[in-house]
């Protein structure tokens, strides 16, 4: 398993950008910057006149690596360690989970905690613990 470099300032700066985007989405559109909710609104049945901003936001997000490349001259660091089969299973599990929890890292973890929601606090504590246990089981009990 490749070790990654500890990047406190870069990560803090990137986190601040994520926060700024979340604040702007609330200020301008009155919406929570939660990707579970934003993507869910694009899965049929789709509400009239409520899909345009969602799709535009996703298009903006997807164009980030190209913009990063234009500015930095290289692609952002990306290394997926899981096999494609595991990614498909993990994607399915993630979709099912976040539908029932009504939010993920962005919706509960950033926006929910920022407005001191009790539901979000419980959600974040639960999924952080569950993720840590899963990583421990996969890396230290089953693998490498």
């Amino acid at each position: 398993m490749p070790a990654t470099e500890f990047t406190p300032w870069q990560s803090l700066f990137g986190g601040a950008l994520i926060g700024t985007a979340s604040v702007l989405l609330m200020l301008l559109h009155g919406r929570i910057a939660g990707l579970t909710g934003i993507v869910s609104g694009l899965i049929p049945p789709i509400a009239m006149n409520d899909w345009q901003w969602r799709l535009a936001l996703l298009v903006g997000m997807v164009s980030a690596p190209a913009t990063y490349w234009l500015v930095a001259g290289r692609s952002p660091a990306f290394h997926a360690t899981a096999s494609v089969i595991t990614l498909v299973i993990g994607g399915l599990i993630t979709g099912i989970g976040v539908h029932f929890s009504s939010g993920c890292t962005s919706g509960h973890g950033v926006c929910g905690l920022a407005r001191f929601s009790r539901r979000s606090l419980v959600a974040v504590a639960t999924f952080m613990a569950s993720t840590a246990v899963t990583v421990f089981v996969v890396r230290h009990l089953i693998g490498p």
Partner: protein, 154 residues
Amino acid sequence: MTMSSSLTNIVTAALIGLLFGLGIAISGMGNPAKVLAFFDVAGAWDPSLAFVMGGALIVTAVGYRLVFKRNAPVLASRFNVPAGTAIDTPLVAGSAVFGIGWGLTGFCPGGVIPMLGLGRLESLAFFAAFVVGIALARKVRTMLANARRGSVTS
């Protein structure tokens, strides 16, 4: 909605998405190896993710305080904020299940979407399955709700 206001909506949403995506790309939140290294306290631990979450949380908490002093958002009629307060089974069980998916892959929804722009099979496979997962869960939830309603009325 007038033509120009809907254009403003779309352009601002796209720019906000770009900013969010740059934050993901710069912070390392879109790099599964880095995300998993944060959770691997027993292995080669990389605490960077705490700085991503911390930075995002501080900015959003302060920003929200200022934004919620307004009566309404700039481009919409009202703030669309979840009103529920119940700590129920779907919330806790759903979060626990999400953690399994995140731990298996290192991908979370907000992290994977910007990385779709790299055109890598890994992100596409996860994201496609993620969308199917939401659609499946929605169907199951509707069926359960209908079954419950049926048993109440009969």
